[in-house]
Amino acid sequence: MLGISRSAAGSIAWVAACLVGCGPATFQPNELLHSSQGLTAAQSEAIETVLLEIFGTPAEPRLPELLHATIDHNNLIRCAGEVISHEPGVTQGLYGRHCARCHGVTGDGQGPTALYQHPYPRDFRRGVFKWKSTYRDALPTISDLHTVLERGVPGAAMPSFRLLSTDERNALVDYVVYLTLRGQLERELVLLSVEELAEEELVTVATAEPLLASLSTAWTDTDRLVVNSSQPIQNLVDANLIAQGKELFHSELTGCAKCHGTNGAGLTPNVTASDRDYDLWDTERREILTASQTTDNPRLIAAAKRAFPPRPSWGRELTTVKRRGGDEPETLFRRLHQGIAGTTMPALGPLRPGQPAALSDPQIWALVAYVESLGISDEPSDEGSPHYAASAQEVP
């Protein structure tokens, strides 16, 4: 349940802010990270100064030269600041208008409405995204971000933004990349301060630039890291393929039924509190909450009090619900191949080309056929999407 005292304090702050005109929105430091890593106030302040120098503010964002290949500056300007139109039909402040109430001004997934959402909105700052076509540890492609914007996430609060113009969606995607890079750099700087610098040695823009260059390159390389099947899409209504998939689903090798239940019914009758799984974001919250109970670090205790309550992850029931990341066969193939980044859903294929894997591509297709046969999703296609079939055949 929600803590009224925390709510009351926040509300008083909000009312006070409103009385003085709400004030400009600011990027918030990753307080959980800073406090859990034991940063001093001076170290945190130095990191904030560097981030301000490089990325600017929500109202006046900056784009360093080395990010120009990744992000269009005009798109950034279009998404930043307050919502306003200076000519008919051209809206500025797109991020504030469409995203910030859930994902937060900083992209920390802690916007005002986030607490009551299930699942919590995505925290961009780690650079970890669930619904993507790339290898597990890789960033998503720009196209993946577009797909989520266009389609939304079934069962979650993330809506489809298909009514926005392509230009507006392009701008929003660029802004999400901008916020992600900012969060990634903040994390790198925190780790650098803790692991490599002496306590009195503070980070500077010069320290940060090589890190930022490396992070930026990772975003431009994502198209190379898209997962493709080594064979064309299978006939997913083939009874033999489905039977093979069912056997794999219930095998020890894949362990699918342990989380998704027998026949994908989502029942996990033997789950106890100690067996519950948490995703990457909730694991961090749990660890910090646990640490805060035994520490006398007031900063960590305060950060833990403000943190969202961690929630366990459950294996999705597969018989009645829409898949959050999409129902298309090629999407399911990739999800089974690489698992879901940031969650305990494991990869069944190799984590990089050429590495060993639990299952071969034909076996993964058999699992796809079985999972497709369980769901209420659209009828499985014999041929899949023409685009995927063509691209799959090009893969040696």
């Binding site: 709510s7 509300s11 306003i84 079934p154 926005l164 619900v321």
Partner: protein, 379 residues
């Protein structure tokens, strides 16, 4: 008071027109908040440098959606403002009682304030002014309802009572009827704070607003249902049915608004409760399973941001709140009224709420033709 002037049907007709136009104005205003179109026109009182009334209608009518509704809101608001001035002139020239003239002045003051709030919301691009603007609109709507009640040319017209005419005590039921408008208006303000929460606000602050809104919804629902029940027992079945129907509709819209915008909260997700229940209560599974299969949030497609369904539900929830306020005010106006029989309730079926019932029935067929007034009870 002159007899000829007192018999004029125009105050009543004018009040009706004003009330009838204010409701769609509130609806469009809510639509602007829902679609965050408040800054689609960055200047005020003009529109992109044009005089408001001279802005090219083709650009407005066939232009972007947010421009269409924002400029349309301004045009409709201007019409309502002019009508309010006209109504004040009419009630003064018709020799209406002082209370009615005072009400018309209050309406004019409110509409001027409302226009200024809307203007400064744009000029300062201040979201908190949008909140105040959104909270003042229903107040003006309530005053127009009072004007309709006060200008009704029947022996039971519902004029605000003078001090000497006021009933000395109210029954328990009377108290509930009297406080219902205040409760509904408080709930409207709480709803407005939810809708206008700044992006930079904290999640815990928003949570408090949600809890306050839900708690007040429960209070309003209980009081309104008791009022509706007592009305039914008093033989005002139509009034009771209307109040209950609007209340039930509003609560349903509130739930639908939440699901449309945020989907199911964690504790209400049947797929989660299904799995969680498996740990301790396996016998509950079949029942939960059935619920999950029918209502699981995952079985529905994601909403479309700015889509017709979401926009309509959210805006309707905002507008029907104002309608509930109008009904509550209309009914409360029947308490401390002067009908020529100080301290007594108006005759059955002749109060302002009944008037509101008639409003919904006659809106499609134009302003009603008032019966000829036989006498002015307060003259």
């Amino acid at each position: 008071m002159k007899q000829a002037a007192a018999e004029s049907p125009w105050p009543y007709r004018g009040a009706w027109l004003l009330c009838g136009l204010t409701f769609p104005l509130i609806w469009v205003g809510g639509l602007i908040t829902t679609t965050d179109a408040g800054m689609a026109v960055p200047d005020w009182p003009g529109t992109y440098g044009y005089n408001l009334l001279l802005y090219p209608w083709q650009t407005w009518f066939f232009g972007p959606w947010d421009l269409f509704i924002e400029h349309g809101h301004r045009l409709l608001a201007s019409l309502v403002g002019l009508l309010t001035i006209a109504l004040l002139v009419i009630v003064r020239r018709s020799g209406e009682p002082r209370q009615v003239v005072r009400l018309a002045w209050i309406a004019l003051g409110l509409v001027c304030l409302q226009g200024a709030l809307g203007g400064f919301r744009v000029l300062l691009n201040a979201r908190y002014l949008a909140l105040v603007h959104g909270a003042t609109g229903p107040l003006f709507f309530a005053v127009t309802v009072l004007l309709v009640a006060a200008t009704r040319p029947t022996p039971a017209r519902l004029l605000p009572a003078t001090r000497s005419q006021r009933a000395p005590t109210l029954s328990q039921r009377g108290w509930l009827i009297a406080i219902l408008p205040a409760l509904v208006y408080t709930q409207l303000i709480l709803g407005a704070t939810l809708r206008h929460t700044p992006e930079s606000s904290g999640a815990w602050a928003f949570a408090l607003h949600v809890q306050a809104h839900l708690a007040m919804a429960a209070v309003v629902a209980v009081v309104a249902l008791v009022v509706a029940f007592s009305e039914a027992r008093a033989g005002r079945g139509r009034v009771a049915a209307l109040l209950a129907a609007v209340l039930v509709g509003q609560i349903s819209l509130g739930l639908a608004t939440w699901v449309a915008k945020y989907r199911y909260p964690h504790w209400a997700d049947p797929t989660t409760t299904l799995t969680a229940a498996a740990e301790n209560a396996p016998l509950e599974l079949p029942r939960l399973r059935g619920w999950a299969e029918r209502m699981a949030p995952g079985t529905i497609q994601p909403p479309t941001a700015g889509g017709f369904t979401e926009t309509t539900i959210v805006t309707a929830h905002s507008a029907i709140g104002s309608l509930l306020l109008a009904l509550a005010v209309g009914r409360a106006a029947g308490l401390g009224v002067s009908t020529g029989r100080a301290g007594k309730s108006p005759p059955d079926g002749q109060d302002a709420l009944a008037e509101a019932v008639r409003a919904s029935e006659t809106q499609a067929s134009g302003p009603p033709q008032p019966p000829r007034r036989e006498s002015s009870l307060l003259a």
